[in-house]
Symmetry: C2
DNA sequence: TTGATTTACGTAAACGTTTAAGCAACCTTA
DNA sequence: TAAGGTTGCTTAAACGTTTACGTAAATCAA
């Protein structure tokens, strides 16, 4: 009635469970004949190993936990895709956790992951608060950061160089002949995707001898609605500009839509460049020129690193700054 | 050195493990004083239960597996979000599986889920092949279908009525005064999102006394590129039309972009209605009028049903046809 | 032939829980 | 006071594996 266990197989094959276990694992210590018999019994009973029991003795679950601020975002799910791909290749399962950016939920999830004895954790797109760090440290499993990093703790991470990418985006606009360039930034308190991108923008202006004007930067929250407002503000209050660098694709698109509604033509009247290259960047019209972040690749890399740490404790893995690149589509025009 | 176990707690509190287990589970059979002592020991040692050991004896892992054809799609990740939300509320973890629509991968994943002793499975957006069904049946855990169903097997599912939704989309165009209506459909072999939607379209035409013309339907694969081609074909080969119903948002957007590139104005020259209401439907310009599928809700419902089946075997849960609705944005105009 | 080595197993402990069964001490009740 | 109940525990088996250790038989070397 119950699923057959290794004992049932042993009984059926008239050997001990140790022998069954050994043939199942391709160890040695049995004759070819016994191997045949055991295999037949396995077949006949339809035996499937129980990973829970195995996990108990091995202290390994072949499972990793992944935390996202919002699993349903295009951003997160691309990363997840990469993580899952490698994990599955290497025989690991992944438990997804949606933190909703809430500390309580996050901590609760960390506890669940601990109780479930996951072998490692990847933590994405949020700042690693001290309490999270402590919780993870307590559970003594490796952790990899994706699209975030920690100054305070030496934890391997995978991310692009936001400052440099923002620099490049801005510089591109400048090379295209623009000199009055506005920016729609995320919160400056955001040490990952906020401040550094603004800083890259500022640096690019400086290096090209263009004055930085605070009145030309508006702050959003990386999402659509906020950037419509930001755009409205820029259009009414800022000194004139011919191009905008938005710190996320979603904000770029919000800005673009608002501008179009105001009768501006993109890119004829206004050039826009985004950041992320999410799937919908190429779906909008005109398709968005933007900074590409290789999210799936980042997920894969994180998975690789994590599994390396799990399988070879002792080994040190380093952080990776992955290379972004600018993808030219149709929202930026050359200014004569 | 090793994490403390229930035995360590027992030793520290000078009681048996059974007693510790009971106070941890709020059963009775101990005095208030012992409870205090045990709790103190738990605190002092920082004891955390081991869910693997627990799973072994309880034959319950509090884990469910979820299979997606493509985890990174906006569609899947919205469903996942809903599933995760309820699961976490009810104390379940979710393992994500990306089948990539490959039979081999799917079967491999089903085996992994079996070995990991998941308590239930949700299977989404793909036809449940016989071999999948057999594998799941063999593992004797409940399963819920989302955005798909099985004629052959009685398995509870959660989905919208595709035929009816397509009917409604088409009928809406007709009510808006259109009579020459093209359709960009998915593959007619697709028994879920392909044929039924075409059929709904056809039925709506018929009910309004409009002739169905095969030359006005083009076939795509639900994705962007295919619908550009489909649109091109319609524009060059089909009898003139004033509106298009696309069987997915992504196809609607591809069609829309192609039309705009050809100089058509949306919705002045051509009305378009989509299907899905994915996140980017409101991001494009003009924002897409479309059929809303409540994906997150569907995920939640699936989770609820699955957990009900897990917790109360014996109980029968029914399928749900969830209600879609049409969301009016700006890609359809009233024809005078 | 003898002793050593190898082969082919079996035995049993261990992993960290839950829980049925048992039991001593105390409390009722008649 | 004896029989029965209750309270507050402990003991030990069980869940399904892995694996260190033991051992009998077969093989080998000298």
């Amino acid at each position: 009635m119950n699923p057959p266990t290794i004992k049932d197989v042993a009984k059926a094959a008239n050997v001990s469970v140790a022998t069954v276990s050994r043939v199942l694992h391709n160890l040695d210590g049995y004759s070819d004949k016994t191997k045949q018999i055991v295999m037949q019994a396995v077949e006949a009973l339809g035996y499937q190993p129980n990973a829970i029991a195995r996990g108990l003795v091995n202290k390994r679950t072949q499972t990793i936990g992944v935390l996202f601020p919002d699993v349903s975002s295009s951003f997160s799910s691309d990363i997840l895709h990469g993580i899952e791909e490698i994990a599955q290749e290497r025989g690991f399962s992944v438990i997804v956790c949606n933190t909703a950016e809430e500390g309580k939920r996050t901590l609760k999830y960390l506890q669940v992951l601990r109780e479930k004895q996951v072998d490692g954790i990847v933590f994405t797109s949020e700042v690693l608060k001290d309490e999270y760090f402590q919780a993870i440290k307590d559970m003594r499993v490796p952790v990899i950061l994706v699209n975030t990093m920690s100054q305070k703790h030496m934890i391997p991470y995978v991310k692009v160089d936001d400052r440099q990418a923002a620099y490049q985006a801005t510089d591109y606009l400048i090379q295209k002949g623009h000199r009055e360039i506005a920016m729609i930034s995320g919160s400056l308190k955001d040490q990952i995707a906020g401040y550094p991108r603004l800083d890259g923008y500022r640096q690019a202006l400086a290096d090209n001898g263009i004055e930085y004007m605070e009145s030309r930067v508006a702050i959003g929250d990386f999402e659509l609605e906020s950037s419509r407002k930001a755009m409205q503000k820029l259009l009414t209050e800022a000194p004139p500009f011919t191009a905008v660098f938005a710190a996320s694709d979603e904000m770029a698109i919000g800005a673009m839509n608002y501008a179009m509604e105001q009768g501006l033509k993109i890119p004829e009247d206004l050039s826009i460049i985004g950041y992320d290259d999410l799937k919908f960047a190429r779906m909008v019209h005109p398709p968005l020129t933007t900074i590409h972040q290789p999210l799936t690749l980042m997920g894969r890399m994180a998975s690789e690193k994590l599994i390396a740490l799990i399988e070879d404790k002792g080994s040190q893995v380093s952080s990776s700054i992955v290379s972004h690149h600018l993808v030219e589509r149709q929202t930026v025009r050359s200014k004569p």
